[in-house]
Subunit: 399 residues, 2 copies
């Protein structure tokens, strides 16, 4: 497989299996300028799949850096109105969305005042996007583009080929029939989600070094695998790779402390050794070796950001974990180990309409990694039984 | 001057002298992904000048290529509605606009069906932008970013440094005080415009190999130099470099034939040896060594595209001409020699409100080069005198 073929195949996978682009759809592709080669390949694949119009929007972390450095304080969290218009028109058109990750400079703004970094986010736009996702108006996926800077972050050297090998393995491009391999993989995780549903989990407990966390679930919580559905029933795979099963917690019932087990890349900074204390469901304290002020700045932009919106279980044996590296990219790191996200919950992970109480709504959704070989995960069932789910990073249920 | 300093100085020039960005303004920067280094420098300079928000939008010619290749025929000229919203909100906000040229692949779509290439343009957006410019709602400029592909087009080798030298010379970055040098340059061309106004020109005549063209002017036509003004009186320099004086022709009074003297890069193709015949003010026939079908496809998108909207006079001795090359970039080639543009006229080049008759309104504005040492240019005055303006590429008036 030549590099060009590999790129084409990844783009095809993103379009056909990931977003599952339909004939006549508008397709939004969002990445950084450094992601142009994959964005172009995705645009071509989307048009070949029958897209009516492909809108590629490139972000630029250096331009964002200039905003953080120089823009007036009161403008940092604002959204230009036309971006909201775009989001709404796109949702109304029932578009497909393909996001590209793989940060070439994960620590680009690490030297700037953390609180300003955390505040520099388009709150209204993020809220609108979250609404679009939760009303299931679009079919979407996230993929990653290996590049020099990202490779340097992962391997301490700009070995893009090595990173491509890791990514290609993680997303099953190295399989003779990636589509069939994905179908089998999705089925396996769907069975795991079904087993958890059958267990009738009332709460999850994470215990390990620096971690003693209880995450209460809702009565309506359901466990989800990789396959999502739009409101009109179109299946798509929202992350490529994905190794998780996840559900929506009861935003009022998170208690205890949790220590992150992997660095978190957040807005061009690396948050290391994140420690969070929850009280009555809310984040009451944030500490970190570095980047705590970025998280605090972010939380300050949204009253509801401080509650959990997702809890996800991931075992230690997977195609993503095989590489044995830290990815400095949430799409990958969150699929190496269990994680939680503070901020908005996903409506697809509750049965029926999201309940008024306990289902968190926010403009934030930030996953951070809390699992690993030293972290035991148990389920407490509604019947009051304690059932081990993960020990030494190994999945304990039969499915 | 290091390459980094040179980039900074060009960005500063674009922001301070070109667009003349004001404190509190929103600034739109538009370029290709390949222009990211200059776009970033411009964003930084704009924020330092007090911009409230800098919106950098990157186009991608490869994504456009995919659209031309694959999108349904009936969608090629359409504009996503939110782009119109952006344009209107930006105009309402009285923003500043900085466009970046320097095409890394001027012939990227040269192998695709020309008519589809010419039709693939957002007609409604172009119309809206033209309206914004003509109501003088924004202060704007165009600059260029030297890059490998563009250098290859100019020199047949990717000598970016050589191209930077040429560009830096053309935009007076090689002056000890570029701002003062620009002020003197603007004054000189303003005097030339004033001399033409004093002459009371009724028509221009271009005569040379393959060219015998008469361009009638309006009674209200005025000659403009490099300095433009917004509706509220803010000066800006719309092109950097610029060597032209221009006016608005009477769209009904162009007659004869004209042969282009420089290749025209149009939508990712190179139109070579363009020959156009005008009858009663309208383009009646288009021929070319290559690319005629692209022009025809473009003209088919807009009934009014076939009339002239601008005529500009440029002598052969200037900082842009010094390099003695073909630039394959209209911002530069149009400042080496006299040119006309078919499509929309500029309101600033008429006295008072644009007249209902004879002032062309269109979504197109395409300049092509028609001057050179072999092309004589005369003015026919309202009094009936014939006054030589250009002979052997040398300006004939005293100013």
């Amino acid at each position: 497989m030549t590099p060009a073929e590999r790129l084409e195949r990844y783009a095809e996978l993103a379009v056909r299996i990931g977003a599952n682009v339909q004939r006549g759809q508008i397709v939004e592709v969002v990445g950084l300028v450094e992601h142009a080669p994959l964005a172009r390949a995705v645009a071509g694949a989307a048009y070949r799949a029958g897209a009516r119009y492909v809108d590629v929007t490139y972000g630029d972390a250096h331009v964002r850096r200039a905003r953080i450095e120089h823009a007036p304080e009161d403008t940092l969290s604002t959204t230009p109105h036309w971006l909201l218009t775009r989001e709404r028109e796109f949702a109304r058109a029932r578009g497909a969305w393909i996001g590209i990750t793989g940060d070439p400079e994960p620590e680009l703004v690490g030297d700037l005042p953390g609180e300003r970094v955390g505040k520099t986010r388009m709150v209204d736009l993020a809220e609108e996007s979250m609404k679009t996702v939760n009303e299931r108006l679009i079919n979407w996926t996230g993929v990653a583009f290996p590049n020099e800077g990202w490779a340097r972050a992962v391997f301490d050297e700009p070995d893009v080929e090595r990173l491509w090998d890791v990514v290609a393995h993680a997303v099953r491009l190295d399989e003779p029939d990636p589509v069939a391999a994905w179908a089998a993989h999705v089925d396996r995780l769907d069975r795991r989600a079904a087993a958890l549903d059958a267990l009738q989990v009332d709460a999850l407990r994470f215990r390990g070094p620096g971690t003693d966390l209880t995450v209460g679930l809702l009565e309506q919580s359901v466990w989800c695998g990789p396959r999502s559905y739009t409101a009109w029933g179109l299946p798509h795979v929202a992350n490529m790779p994905t190794e998780e099963v996840f559900t929506t917690p009861d935003a009022r019932r998170t208690e205890g402390v949790v220590r992150s087990t992997r660095p978190l890349v957040l807005y061009g900074t690396v948050v290391r050794g994140l420690e969070v204390r929850f009280e009555d469901g809310r984040i009451a304290a944030v500490d970190a070796g570095s980047g705590a002020d970025v998280v605090r700045g972010q939380l300050a932009t949204d009253e509801r950001a401080a509650c959990l919106g997702e809890v996800a279980l991931v075992d230690g044996k997977s195609r993503v974990a095989d590489a044995g590296v830290t990815f400095f990219d949430t799409l990958f790191d969150e699929n190496v180990t269990s994680h939680v996200a503070y901020g908005s919950a996903y409506a697809e992970a509750v049965d029926g309409d999201p309940p008024e109480q306990g289902f968190n709504v926010s403009s934030v959704h930030t996953d951070f990694m809390i699992g690993g070989p030293e972290v035991d995960v148990d389920a407490v069932t509604r019947a009051g039984d304690v059932v081990p789910l993960l020990r030494d990073d190994v999945w304990q249920l039969s499915a």
